[in-house]
């Protein structure tokens, strides 16, 4: 397949990956500044677990008539027809995970251990439910390895609308969110609605992760949420520069990863993550210029 043919054939997937490359690092930037980057790792895994649980429950729900006269095979063979269904379970998985991570906060410093435990549990649950489902194994395996980029206009529109809405809201409330994250008590004294702002951030991140997991898979989301902000932090001398650099690193990683994926014929998700890791490497190796 020539590059032009690949661009034509995979255009919706390519656009979805580029859009995620621009927007995910912005969301990840807020997670980074709040020292909750692990959420960017754990939540996509919870979303994948949600999809796997959805597949496991699919035959039972079909038997109960939840989809009318549609057969399980029809839903399983046409992923587009079940987009809303999978999305619902991805969202359920993400927000269950988010609630668990919020509950995991404790003053004893066990938060990271609990998050790691939640991540391990979600990973195991994903594999177990996918294997136990007669229809979901291939699909979920594809999501996990980043091979299943079955993105059509509907998926792209859903992803673009979600990313655009979340990014716009976070842009609008950026100053409030930065203050709440940097100095919560001062934010409260100046009558910022800290809890509502934190909820806005959680819902924005959760929604993007649920939709993004269904479109580009959890591996690419891990990489794009966590790595570009990590690389940007070394070189950013202001908050504004930090978010621009994060987004720029994300877009370059997405473009470079896609290009590499085409030439070496490997799944795009690991290629994009490898490119993002390379973009974070100089920051890890060299100290920030003063």
């Amino acid at each position: 397949m020539s590059l032009a043919e690949a661009l034509e054939f995979f255009r919706w997937s390519i656009l979805a990956i580029l859009a995620t490359g621009v927007a995910a690092p912005t969301l990840g930037g807020f997670l980074f500044l709040r020292r909750t980057s692990f959420h960017g790792l754990a939540l996509p895994q919870f979303a994948a677990a949600g999809v796997a649980v959805g597949f496991l429950l699919l035959p039972t729900l079909v038997d109960l008539g939840a989809f009318g006269a549609v057969a399980v095979e029809d839903i399983a063979s046409d992923t587009h027809s079940a987009h809303g269904y999978h999305l619902l379970f991805a969202a359920l998985g993400t927000f269950t995970g988010l609630a668990a991570l919020v509950r995991a906060r404790d003053p004893l410093g066990l938060e990271s251990a609990r998050m790691a435990g939640a991540f391990a549990t979600a990973s195991a649950l994903t594999i177990l439910c996918a294997n136990a489902s007669p229809f979901g194994e291939v699909f979920v395996h594809g999501i996990l390895t980043g091979e299943s980029l079955v993105v059509g206009p509907l998926e792209l529109a859903t992803l673009a609308a979600t990313l655009a809405t979340a990014s716009s809201l976070l842009f609008l409330f950026r100053h409030d969110l930065i203050l709440v994250s940097l100095d919560r008590e001062t934010a409260l004294i100046t009558r910022r609605p800290a809890r509502a702002l934190e909820m806005l951030l959680a819902v924005s991140v959760g929604s993007c992760i649920a939709v993004g997991t269904m479109s580009v898979g959890p591996v690419m989301l891990f990489g794009l949420l966590v790595l570009p902000p990590l690389g940007a932090r070394r070189f950013a001398s202001s908050i504004r520069a930090f978010f621009w650099l994060s987004s720029g690193f994300g877009l370059i990683s997405a473009g470079a990863g896609l290009y590499a994926s085409f030439w070496i014929d490997l799944p795009p998700a690991p290629c994009v993550v490898a490119a993002a890791a390379l973009s974070a490497l100089p920051g890890a190796l060299f100290s920030r210029p003063s």
Binding site: L33, H175, I178, D183, I189, T190, A236, S237, I239, A241
Partner: protein
């Protein structure tokens, strides 16, 4: 410079606590607190660690509701100078970006940004506090004293009726201490801003506050007077 604002009349009571008890989870940390603060006054809040100074501050600004009694004035505009160690160094924030946070109540426009007037005023405050050369440097490049001055500039940009300063001179060089206290004195005198300074550093504040409260043994125990140019001392006659 920004437009002059309506200054509160000096001497007017801006904060008043009547028989207030403050605490957490039904357990009182401070009881029977009677205090008042007038516009333009500078009050030092003294006391050992764990005595309840932070609880008192949280009660004054309305972060915790009184278990008993009444706090009048907790809805005032507060400018807060927290302990600088509370700011997470992971933030790549510049001095100017930090100071502009003081204008957060006045965000406007479709993009909810800071106004040009607030940008100019932030620049003026940075210059007044001797931080103009550091305005666009990351906060992490500043010394402790410079960071403290940046926090004071942020608090002043809130256009406060009451300034709360938590250990403003602790671990700060003499020059920064002088600049900070001179600014507090200026806004108290010119704008009628009341200032509450929580501190252990009584030596630095001796000549710079009008009176002091001592928080100890579960209440605000004694009200001290500080005459200009004299050491902190117990009032000769207490009501």
């Amino acid at each position: 410079m920004a437009e002059p604002r309506d200054a509160p009349a000096v001497g007017r009571v801006v904060l008043e606590l009547s028989d207030v008890s403050l605490g957490y989870g039904g357990e009182a940390v401070l009881q029977g607190v009677h205090l008042e603060v007038r516009a333009g006054e500078r009050v030092a809040i003294l006391g050992p660690n764990g005595a309840g100074k932070t609880t008192l501050l949280r009660g004054l600004v309305g972060l915790i509701s009184p278990m008993k009694g009444e706090v009048k004035g907790s809805n005032s505009r507060f400018g807060v100078v927290p302990q600088r160690e509370r700011l997470d160094p992971i933030f790549p924030i510049t001095t100017r970006e930090l100071v502009l946070q003081g204008a957060i109540r006045r965000l406007g426009g479709w993009h909810r940004g800071y106004s040009m007037a607030d940008g100019e005023r932030a620049g003026d405050l940075l210059a007044e506090l001797g931080l103009a050369p550091q305005a666009d440097l990351p906060l992490s490049h500043l010394s402790g004293g410079q960071r403290q001055r940046a926090l004071v500039a942020r608090a002043l940009l809130t256009d406060p009726e009451i300034l709360l300063l938590d250990e403003p001179t602790s671990g700060v060089d003499r020059q920064s201490t002088e600049v900070i206290l001179a600014q507090v004195e200026r806004v108290a005198r010119e704008d009628g801003v009341a200032a509450l300074l929580v501190t252990h550093d009584t030596r630095a504040l001796q000549e710079r506050v009008d009176r002091a409260w001592r928080v100890d043994s579960g209440t605000v125990q004694a009200e001290l007077t500080v005459a200009q140019g004299q050491e902190l001392q117990e009032p000769e006659v207490s009501a």
